[in-house]
Amino acid sequence: MSKFLKRAAQGAQVPHEKRTSNQETVKMPLPSKIVLSMGQHIGAPAAPAVKKGDQVCVGTVVGKAGGFVSCDIHSGVSGTVDSIITITAPNGAAQTAVVIIPDGKQTVDPAIAPPTVTDLKSFQDAVRASGLVGLGGAGFPAAVKLSPKNLDEIDTLLINGAECEPYITSDNRCFLEDTQYILDGIQAVMKYLEIPKCVIGIEGNKPEAIAKMKSVATAGIEVKELPCRYPQGAEKVLIENCTGREVPFPGLPSDVGVVVMNVTSVAFVGKYLKTGMPLTTKRLTVDGDIIKEPKNVEVIIGTPVQELMDFCGGFTDEPGKVLYGGPMMGNCIADLSQPILKNNNAVLAFSKKMAELPKATNCIHCGRCTNACPLGLSAKEIVQAYNDGNVELLVELNADLCMSCGTCSFVCPAKRPLAPSIALAKIMMKNGGKK
């Protein structure tokens, strides 16, 4: 109770719905086409490196990183570039995408070979060449994350295996199926970044994963069971729970000596160092109340959502909402032609009935939003200040600290859309008072 009276930060008791946690990952067959968006990461979009009619192989670079904070995009199929089109990303932005029609041979690019890694520089270069982005959802280019400015101050590698979103079990499957790759990846990061200690944080609802990691953990690696309260996987919350340190705002985990990597990301690092095959496939949980056969699927990045849905038996009812990611922070997609992105860890489909949220009523000031907020923000006050156009108060309330985890909206008994309103408040703060 060290936080007593300081910050309740109770989080939320979200439903688990982890019914796919025992389902071994199945490989989805080749799709009829793949659509590779050039914006699958935070930072500058990649630039297409191929043109219509080009032949590509598995692992061929089709998008070249557009800057330091950017990332290469690789083809997951061998085939012909059909066209370069513009698609609308879930956030509404137009994005260039390369469409490739597979030839079915899955010829591997002759340039693919395990990277030669001898020191920090070659390790960072290898990660950069692998096209890895943060696979927990944020999509932050991994090579940038592994190049902290204060490397000598970093003493802890934190592996995020909380998987606190309902439905999603792909990280759980990663722990069970890619155990060795996870270990290899952790050891490589610890070795080249000279980090003495590693903590693997796993939410208590994944006992098998915890047991498995405990049984293989080597010196310097600790497995920590996290409470089942959403959002354990939020970076700042995870760091506080595992190390007791508070990431300053504004600031980065490296400011408190921590590098955080998602478990799937670190497993990919381990795999890449062995095979040299860049990030072209992804393990996804496909679930939701109208998915006929919920399962964990290994899918080629760029596969249209429609084909993935068909692979899982299709819908049992008319779809109301289809999400990239979990129900707490996932993004709605507008149509099923959207492609799978690198940072997707689930595709969920819900019926119209589940998709429609209850009507918002008056705030009763119960304080659930305030006491649940993992960061100690007061959602009801921020939303009130936003409605009043009171930017000064928004600054005082630190509305810009909000990470949009959605806990406040979830716990609100009046069903008020607090998290989206705070997102608008943040924009108002940036614009200096204009809505």
Binding site: F4, L5, K6, R7, A9, A12, Q13, P166, K236, V237, E246, V247, P248, F249, P319, G320, K321, V322, L323, P327, M328, G330, C332, I333, A334, D335, F350, M354, A355, E356, L357, P358, T361, N362, C363, I364, H365, C366, G367, T370, N371, P374, L375, G376, L377, S378, L397, N398, L401, S404, G406, S409, F410, V411, P413, A414, K415, A419, P420, A423
Partner: protein, 313 residues
């Protein structure tokens, strides 16, 4: 596109909690006390409660209809106000006076300020105070337990000097004079524990309020048990001071509010001319709640630390 999908901002699920469920739990928590009041004060207690609740719900419905607003009576908040107001009335009060109290609570205090969530003070408390001022003698004639025909008598607080330890049982069971819902400490405690267990209320305000009264009673040389169990303290601490809208939000704020309530209650009880201080203490707390809220915000992750460091430099 033949398949139109719904696109909304996250999150896409909400908890099972709702305003209606929360208010429903408060009603359930008040039921044991209602039953106790019927046993102690007779059938009149039930009639008065029914009239008060019906009047509150009717005024809420009628006002919203008149104003062309959506009628929110299904959220049960008016029913809770009605129950709490009734619990603050002596069983012998003529029902029409209770209707006046209901009008003040629902129309003047709640709806004129914008409805649920916008009232500056607890509607039931203001209803009680308005009646106590307006119909002073009627409101202060407390029937003795045993039936409405029994002689009006003072509450134990008025005669607390004469009460000894043998009266603790009487105080717990509520078979003494008082308004209909505040005498039986046991059923109020049961309801309060139920609300805490179902996470409708935080234990912070009741605990700090009662603890403050107990400590101040000891210091003042009064019997703390008599002070805790008599008057409107138990009902006020668990059901009235914990009203969401008019009490502070954070644990820190609730701690401040609880101590504030205890100090004001004891000040009125020990030094004032009135026997009863709880209603006015809660009303005062309601009025300072916005200030307590503004001064007792939580430490935000990563921000408090920076401030402290800056202060240290």
């Amino acid at each position: 596109m033949d398949n139109k999908l719904i696109v909304t901002a996250a999150p896409h699920i909400t908890s099972a909690d709702s305003t209606q469920k929360i208010m429903g739990r408060v009603c359930v928590a008040l039921l044991p006390t209602l039953i106790a009041s019927i046993i102690i004060f007779g059938f009149n207690a039930l009639i008065l409660t029914a009239v008060t609740v019906a009047a509150c719900v009717f005024f809420e419905w009628a006002y919203c209809k008149l104003m062309g607003r959506e009628v929110p009576v299904a959220d049960l908040s008016a029913a809770v106000t009605g129950l709490l107001l009734a619990f603050n009335l002596p069983a012998t009060l003529p029902p029409w006076m209770a209707v006046v109290g209901a009008f003040i609570a629902i129309v003047i205090i709640k709806q004129l300020f914008g409805g649920l969530g916008f009232n500056f003070a607890n509607p039931a408390i203001v209803g009680r105070i308005a009646l106590a001022v307006g119909f002073a003698s009627r409101m202060a004639s407390y029937p003795m337990g045993g039936g409405v025909d029994a002689l009006a008598s003072a509450t134990p607080l008025a005669v607390s000097g004469e009460l000894g330890a043998s009266h603790y049982v009487t105080l717990l069971l509520g078979t003494h004079g008082g308004v209909l819902g505040e005498t039986c400490a046991i059923t109020i405690l049961i309801g309060g524990v139920y609300l805490i267990a179902t996470k409708v209320i935080s234990p912070m305000i009741p605990m700090t309020y009662l603890a403050t009264v107990a400590v101040l009673s000891l210091i003042a040389g009064k019997d703390p048990i008599v002070q805790l169990l008599s008057g409107g303290l138990m009902l006020g601490a668990f059901f009235m001071a914990t009203d969401y809208v008019t009490s502070p939000t954070t644990d820190k704020g609730k701690l401040v509010a609880g101590i504030f309530l205890g100090v004001v209650t004891c000040a009125i009880r020990f030094f004032g001319t009135m026997n009863e201080g709880v209603s006015f203490a809660i009303l005062l707390m309601n009025l300072v709640t916005p200030y307590i809220d503004a001064l007792t915000r939580q430490d935000k992750l990563g921000i408090a630390k920076k401030k402290k460091e800056a202060a240290a430099k």
